[in-house]
Symmetry: C2
Subunit: 379 residues, 2 copies
């Protein structure tokens, strides 16, 4: 079988590696020039996009910001999974919020803003602590602004002055004092069967995911069930096929959906060694019509992103249960270069291992690591 | 980093897949024409063997029957691991037996035969139940003969008449009434650190491995220790670097070494989902000078070879904890086409899963499966 993935980054690469044992050949589309490339070497394959679409059993994406003309061509083949409209929900916060509202899924109070004068009404109705998000093309904290105090509203308007809000409206959200961010990665197959991984707890720094711990500590059966219910509502409501990631804020007993990603997700990378079947394999199984794999966790895991950092000691592999996933990219500031998965029997051991890991890494690139190690050791 | 593997079959392919996340690029040598190929696609890469040797950080093998001229060229680079002499030990039963004797490692009573008349003396000293093995180029039961009864000695001699025993002597072994075959797969790094996986129990049919169960049932700490001691004696005695597989016969409390394989081994495929770090990754870690990974088992596992069979229901993936590893080769009789790993919490559950698996497979190709399922269910 063949699966063509739009996008030729690390997610396509990891799908390639997961597909190989199943006899599924994953090819990637470099959306910069529509070329079809090998997902690992990135070298062009000897076929063009039309031929690759023709030869594929399924088409899918590694990111939601695929140009619409490409998605339209893909959708026309009737092989695109998840569907174009589902992919666009992940790419457009207006569509996303509409979906959440239509399915009655709890999310942060928000307003759609197409004119900066509407910001005053936002402050009136949502309060003075707001997060303003471009509805499209935002990523890893880009395209986001904050208002923390009514007195700074004019300055905010100034900084937003250049935006074309007709083309890309803003979503203005009430800032929520959440306890933590959790994410649920799950998978739905063509028959509508759904499997959800245990919740992961995500630690961000400057808008980027730095560490995930899964299963998230202090999640009781009730909370896991509630998250799974939200996932099922969304995935079934969307008639979704493949892996879907749902980011949520936990506020006490309440879960508010923050964001959807219609694809394999960074907060699911822990599944590579921390679960029976990883998210990459399960995505391929789903889009190829194969039975879904077991999503049970194996012990507890942490996933540590390597961001903007190209040099560190490989001796970190001496930590038992540590696995390096290196993407083979050129180093750039804030660029995700790879990740490290660490598995342990319990949280205290996981904390010890993260503490050990911090000895091998240049900590300026890993601002969340030591504190998380301490937290887990005391858990 | 780059590792060049001599041999371009499934073992090179699985090393490629294990190397990718570590940032290790595995290339393969097709020893039929000395071409350097991609281990998955088997397509030629744009460099010749000399260039590939030059570019590699380490050279290694996926099978021991690499032509000696290639091994000599590889050894001359000072990058070949394990060493040429260690590879040849796996390729030549005369060298193998000499090693076992020199290290005082228990093995089956045997004689070296360079002339068929010596067979009479073999029967005198070893008894009338013998296994006769070509000292080189034997594989999966090829190049082996049996004597079960003194009266058939003349007929045996007749059938061996055509062999050139000066070029390829015979090793004649006393047939041992062993309880079962176990194998220990382990790894030794450049500093001499050794890690050994739990013993696997291997079920053969007509000279080919069909099923491995690991950790092998009914292995107490004492037996596991004894096997590890044998492994350490061999690996240290050989100054071995990389993954080494040691096949042993268990006779009561005694372990007799039957065969060494200087490479990743079919009886270690269960480690892909049944251990913290699989044998392919550990081999690469060792030859690249990286710290060895944890070899602890995760639950219990069975590895079921798919031999000579190209068609079966992919619905077998609905069995929880099942993973397909398909090699992408053309079907031929007795050819290893792939394998299925199945993980479970305990042997009884593993038995249930193998029983379920047998429903999805054409059983004429899987003669060991149903019986093993029953045995494990009752374990």
């Amino acid at each position: 079988m063949r699966v063509l993935i739009y996008g030729a980054g690390q997610l396509a690469q990891m799908m390639y590696l997961a597909g190989c044992p199943l006899g599924i050949e994953v090819q990637a589309v470099d959306v910069k020039d529509d070329s079809v490339v090998h997902p690992v070497s990135k070298l062009p394959l000897e076929l063009n996009l039309t031929q690759a679409i023709e030869a594929a059993d399924a088409l899918s994406v590694e990111f939601e910001h695929v140009p619409e003309r490409l998605l339209e061509q893909a959708a026309a083949s009737d092989k695109l999974l998840p569907s174009m409209s589902n992919i666009l929900i992940g790419a457009d916060r207006v569509r996303e919020k509409k979906l959440l509202e239509s399915l009655n899924v709890p999310n942060c109070a928000h307003r759609l803003v197409t004119d900066l004068t509407q910001l005053d009404e936002c402050v009136e109705s949502l309060g003075e602590r707001l997060i303003i998000k471009a509805s499209r093309d935002g990523y890893d904290g880009y395209g986001q602004w904050r208002l923390t105090d009514r007195s700074k509203l004019d300055a905010l308007k100034q900084s937003l002055q250049g935006l074309d809000l007709d083309a890309v409206p803003l979503i203005v959200e009430q800032m929520v004092d959440f306890d933590r961010e959790l994410s649920m990665v799950g998978v739905r197959d063509k028959q509508g069967n759904i499997s959800t991984y245990p919740l992961a707890e995500n630690l961000h720094y400057k808008g980027q995911l730095h560490v995930s711990v899964a299963p998230a500590p202090e999640v009781d059966t009730e909370l896991q069930k509630r998250a799974a219910h939200i996932f099922e509502t969304l995935a079934s409501g969307m008639d979704y096929v493949g892996v879907l990631a749902v980011e949520m804020f936990q506020c006490g007993d309440t879960l508010l959906v923050n964001e959807l990603a219609p694809r394999v997700h960074n907060s699911g990378h822990w599944t590579q060694s921390g679960s029976v079947t990883d998210q990459f394999e399960n995505h391929l199984r789903a889009v190829c019509g194969l039975p879904l794999g077991d999503v049970a966790a194996i012990g507890v895991s942490a996933m540590v992103n390597i961001i903007g950092c190209g040099s560190f000691s490989r001796e970190l592999l001496s930590i038992k249960g540590s696995h390096l996933h290196w993407y083979g990219k050129t180093v750039r500031e804030k660029r995700k270069m790879g990740h490290i998965n660490v598995g342990a029997a319990d949280y205290a051991e996981l904390g010890d291992k993260l503490a050990a890991l911090s000895q091998y890494l240049p900590l300026e690139f890993f601002p969340k690591l030591e504190k998380e190690a301490r937290r887990l050791r005391n858990a």
